[in-house]
Symmetry: C2
Subunit: 510 residues, 2 copies
């Protein structure tokens, strides 16, 4: 609670200092929640589930009570009145505080509680409905949740002066607006179908891409994963790697917990997952130490967060130079398999960049992934704006898949039931993935231009130059700049989707 790094001079800035203290408290509360969530996914025995749900609910309510307390509102007004006395960074911090406060107070407590309950209920039913491919089973709970989400979006819309959908996106990516995304997604949509077709035709020339024949013992996979995390710069003094059903990056900035899941017959998927989560972890580990507890010290949003994981996974680790360098390390990780003829640099690289028209987003390659996102972006706006009746979701989904990817899911498990997001009440999140992919390409191109040591480093397993550039230009900025400001400062221009498309062109149709 003695964490006032943003401004040391408190005597003349009482309301602002009081706010810093409260937001520091919220930060640590959030850190505790992060570890408890991680524990629930990795360590907790099954029978601890009910009490954990209650513990997290109590912490969430306390968080909300502190953030929405009238004292905070009054302190924000008072601090704004003295804004001229604050340093520039403190002024930005104050703006971020206000943004968080306005988001939190926009929704009445009754609605927060109703949403939380409806979300838990719908998610619970979805967990049964998905394997059974039974959309009708989850439909009533989903309709109820959607209706409450619409109510929340409306409330936030009014409080923030944004459209309802923009107000939801703003929770995950401050400043993200449909006005920015629509033309970008339109450009991608015009580009992708033809590009996917041509890429598939080109890759058809490759013939078979044999997998190294396993098994790949879990312990050996874990050692390999930790070795490669070290290569990327993961600080094991400030984090760890564990196993969970769904891989994630959690915990808190000075104690980052990433997870994966291992498959004894396939080492590639766990390894690439770990490298992806390591990208997330490096962002957390590089956040500005001096303002970690303040809003300004947080990650800029989900799109930037995703850009850091995709930069590491897609731009760096699936590149030919990196994989060529990594090959001996991979072979050494599985001593019993070292004579497998599938261990060639060319095969390794081609397997890493295979493109397929698949049904499942989380299994998608970087070429088809944006199509999965555009579909969801379209449909969730229609749902939220009442232009798509939830009961028509399966047919709308399948039609859009045919339209965008040229395939039709044989059932809803492989279709509109595959992702947790909507059934958990998260609308407005999906665009982050593809905006993140575009940011990753743009940052990586700029980084290589800015420091000539980066590209050769990657071919030698030396990621320090890249990491230093990311730390200085992205991680250490926290939330002190808007997304567009961050991009302009780091790359000389705002978000430019052409760089992502150029990356695809260079890699897939050189």
């Amino acid at each position: 609670m003695n964490d006032f790094a943003v401004s040391a001079d408190k005597t003349h800035l009482k309301p602002y200092a009081a706010l810093q203290s409260q937001f520091s408290r919220l930060h640590h509360l959030e850190g505790g929640q992060g570890i408890l969530h991680w524990d629930a996914a990795t360590m907790m025995p099954k029978g601890g589930s009910d009490s954990r749900t209650e513990q997290l609910a109590v912490l969430a309510v306390l968080y909300h009570e502190i953030l929405t307390s009238p004292a905070i509102g009054a302190q924000i007004e008072a601090a704004k009145a003295q804004k001229a006395d604050l340093r520039a960074l403190d002024q930005v911090n104050l703006m971020e505080m206000e943004r968080l406060y306005r988001h939190a107070t926009a929704v009445p407590g009754r609605l927060v509680e109703a949403l939380s309950k409806a979300g838990s209920k719908c998610e619970h039913i979805w967990r049964e409905a998905r394997p059974e491919s039974d959309f009708a089973k989850v439909l009533p709970a989903f309709q109820e949740l959607l209706s409450l989400t619409q109510e929340m979006a409306q409330a936030k819309s009014e409080a923030l002066g944004l459209s309802p959908y923009d107000a939801l996106m703003d929770q995950f990516d401050p400043g993200a607006r449909t006005a920015m995304i629509d033309p970008i997604f339109a450009e991608l949509e015009a580009f992708l179908p033809d590009f996917i077709q041509k890429t598939l035709e080109a890759q058809a020339q490759w013939g078979a891409l044999p997998a190294v024949a396993g098994p790949f013992p879990i312990e050996q996979q874990k050692t390999l994963a930790e070795t490669m995390m070290g290569v990327l710069g993961f600080e094991f003094d400030h984090g760890r790697l564990d196993v969970s059903a769904h891989p994630f990056c959690g915990g808190t900035a000075r104690d980052v917990r990433i997870t994966t899941r291992y498959d004894r017959t396939d080492y590639e998927s766990a390894l690439m997952g770990v490298l992806h989560e390591t990208g997330h972890a490096l962002y957390e580990m590089g956040l500005p130490e001096a303002s970690l507890t303040q809003p300004i010290g947080k990650p800029r949003g989900m799109a930037v967060h995703e850009s850091q994981s995709l930069l590491m996974e897609m731009q760096v680790c699936r590149s030919q130079p990196f994989l060529q360098w990594a090959l001996p390390t991979l072979k050494k990780a599985f001593p019993a398999l070292e004579n497998d003829p599938a261990w060639t640099a060319e095969n390794l690289y081609r397997r890493a960049i295979r493109v397929e028209r698949g049904f499942i987003r989380v299994d998608a390659d970087e070429v088809t992934y944006p199509a999965h996102i555009i579909l969801r972006y379209r449909l969730e706006r229609q749902l939220l704006e009442g232009r798509l009746d939830p009961q028509d979701l399966p047919s709308a989904w399948n039609a859009a898949m045919q339209d965008l990817l040229g395939v039709t899911p044989p059932n809803d498990r492989l279709g509109c039931l595959q992702d947790i997001h909507w059934y958990d009440g998260a609308f407005g999140y999906f665009p982050s993935y593809t905006i993140g992919a575009m940011i990753a390409a743009q940052l990586f191109a700029a980084a290589q231009k800015a420091d000539a040591a980066i590209a050769p480093g990657i071919g030698q397993g030396d990621l320090l130059p890249l990491r230093q550039w990311l730390r200085q230009n992205i991680h250490d900025k926290g939330s002190s700049l808007s997304l567009q400001e961050l991009l302009v400062a780091a790359t000389g221009e705002g978000l430019n989707p052409k760089i992502f498309m150029a990356h695809l062109q260079n890699r897939y149709l050189p």
Copy 2:
């Protein structure tokens, strides 16, 4: 927060129902703290320490703020005014609420904070001073902490109408009083020196007790530990076993986390430690489901808690019938060592009950252990009451060791610096250990009388009859009875130290 199991009828009992809701909130906050403490000791990377300290501090402050809020005080008064309308159990719950409230409000916030800081500081210095055996190093911080502890004891004394030392004991063991402990400890003190001497003489006849020659691989030790936990009745759906520097039982009732530490050269110490912690865990797992979130659903105090671990470890697992039954399981756990001649039932039992005049409490056997406690009880009262100057602690300690155990520690690391308690501000805790040992003996004797299946069950590795008796008579009672009421209900009489002494006599000088 919908946890009103103690009383379903809320309409006429508004203040009481509101209290139940707040105490449920405190319960879940405590559960979260429990898991975060466990994580810090078992999983957390080193660099997460600072942020964890802050997280726990924020949760502790929130806990204290909720418990001491004026609203709670007013609700307690209002509920007491309507007390006659409450069921008997609810009335007890209300009394427990008031006890917790009075303890928490007795100490001004300023003093709580000063104590917390002085405790952290002193503990930190103690961690350096202990290995260096340098009492002078920790003395100034210890003096400061002691002085604040005296202030707190005085404040609690006035608020609770107890002597300062009783007020401190009451935090750990509600109802524990020096008036009860003094004559019991006097009786023990008269009994022990001669008894220890005779036991040592008897055991000297045994000759060498060879240890099974290791090494004992950690994985095999862990499998054995989990097997034996299962025998005792540990529910793995509601708990787990991990490794930490100092073994403990933590987490929360439906998610109990116990720890141990393994030594490749000695399986006995980790195993006995696990069985001890399993006794603690069974108490938590057996607390009354319907009132888990309420004060009445908590363990009765540290002495009863310790009685449950000592009952399992000392009364059951170090007994001849149990060890005889366990021998084949132990041998099977270490297949490479099965032909070691030290694997005999007699050797196993004798090694489990060896008595030694040692310097270190945590390594002490059950015969000399009470002497270690009586020493600490005497000295901490003298310190608290200003009758012993902290700077004279080392010489007072060594004199008391000579007096009670006939040995003099060669240095303060093996003397007054060995335990964390005082250097962490915990005064009034030590008596719980020996009261717990006496309760264990008394409960075990009563249980065997009450159910004739218990004793033969132990010789067959069947602990279900014992566990059922403990569940019904101790665990499921939570805090609904005082310690003395609990003992009377379970054994027909209040605390009777003669049963413990009879146990020692039967085992060591039969």
